[in-house]
Symmetry: C2
């Protein structure tokens, strides 16, 4: 069956990727300036933290999409969905890892993704403090700053065989809706060499070879906006392990992505979700 | 009872701290140059990784201590103990977080400590990629780059009350000698908002307010070389929870450090170790 994304064409894909990178440049400037000038932190109704930087970044993003692609849809963390029936849907998490950001820990980042009829065609994650950016588009490859990412060329994979490094979410992520700590236990007992960053720099590392894979759980759609296209374009695998409707229209997502053979093993740890 | 460290005097303490900072400057240059030029990675007999940078850094450190303080002792990760009966004992972990270092993940660092008759008087942790350094000496305070650290002034502590951020070791650290995974389970169930960096930048964050506390387990003495003096000089607490002889003269250490009230709660999770 032909992939629906082939309808878009290489040039259009490149244009859309470039648009996301241009906006990301503007966002990075705002974020770095705010780190120096200072910002306000508030606790949201769901008990997570948010800053005025989150708001400002997402507002700018929406404004730029309105200007360039007024008929495209936008789904973001801080404001309401726009043009929800459009074929092209932009997704943004303005500051992923806000808890890290407020502590000036550089593992936070901005996530931007673009789906065409629910299939990802563009992905970008930017880590301003680290001067690190990962980006890619359908059939155009994935890049870390200027370097093409090829998971097969990861030289450390062999050195760490048998004690693969896996990024997982904090234990707290498995308690969000009910106590699913047993899933966490299962992962860490199969892959004990775990790391927890809780900022999207962990995603970037799972795609660029800094870890064998990433397990994510109970997150929102914008958190995973860039990971599938980037993992696949880097020569790795991405597999959804959770898509669970919650009250008030919320949907919880979980996924495993990174090196194919490790993703396969990790997915088997979630047999109840392979339906 | 008078603290034995008062015998040393302020000026001598300042001199020793400065000596450690001067060597740290040299080390940082080597490390940053090696990241650009490349380095060799090997797997050690204990199944951990080591690079030629670890070796080169520790050699330089030993040379500088020989020159400045020939009668001082040195305990380091890569070479044999020197002058083991000296009153002054330098400790070094040349690259803490080698697995991170080989992946160019900036959470690695160099740890230097100095004990006088087993009491810590100088501590320093340097994170070259992040241009971040934490250092301090007995009764002289603790500093992050040029800024004095005062845990009591941490503004985010209140915002995150009830969901304190705690750094813990990877699950693998609780399997090193026997399966003590139950200790890990206990910690994450009491403090589910955990992070795992497995590089000493986590220690730095627990001392500078990026987390409420750090739990460390089954590490070597050089890993904790700087944490006690830095946590205490920053106005926080440090408590040893493990000091366990192993075969071949190895001793495993565990500790909790960070904000006093959180350290107290964490220590209670290890009742079998409060002997």
């Amino acid at each position: 069956m032909a992939d629906i994304r082939n309808k878009i064409g290489k040039e259009k894909c490149a244009e859309l990727l470039n648009a996301s990178l241009e906006i990301a440049d503007e966002i990075r400037e705002i974020v770095l300036a705010k780190i120096i000038s200072g910002f306000e932190v508030q606790v949201k109704s769901d008990n997570t933290v948010v800053t005025d930087v989150d708001m400002e970044v997402e507002s700018l993003f929406r404004q730029r999409i309105h200007e360039k692609y007024p008929d495209h849809g936008i789904i973001g963390e801080e404001f309401a969905v726009e043009n929800k029936d459009a074929d092209f849907q932009w997704l943004i998490d303005p500051i992923d890892g806000t808890e890290e950001f407020i502590h000036h820990i550089p593992t936070y980042g901005t996530i931007i993704g673009l789906n065409y009829k629910d299939s990802p065609i563009v992905g970008m994650m930017d880590h301003p403090t680290l001067n690190a950016r990962i980006y890619g588009a359908y059939k155009a490859g994935a890049f870390y700053n200027d370097k093409k990412i090829l998971m097969s060329e990861n030289k450390t994979a062999e050195l760490l065989a048998g004690r693969e490094r896996i990024f997982v979410p904090p234990f707290a992520s498995f308690l969000k809706w009910s106590d699913e700590g047993n899933l966490f236990d299962r992962v860490v007992r199969s892959f004990p060499n775990i790391r927890i960053f809780h900022g999207c720099y962990a995603y970037t590392l799972a795609i660029t070879g800094g870890a064998a894979a990433m397990v994510e759980y109970n997150v929102k759609i914008w958190d995973l906006a860039a990971s599938q296209i980037l993992a696949e374009e880097a020569g790795g695998a991405f597999q959804l392990i959770q898509r669970q409707p919650r009250p008030n229209g919320i949907v919880s997502y979980g996924a495993v992505f990174g090196r194919k053979e490790i993703v396969e093993k990790l997915v088997k740890l979630f047999p109840e979700m392979n339906a």
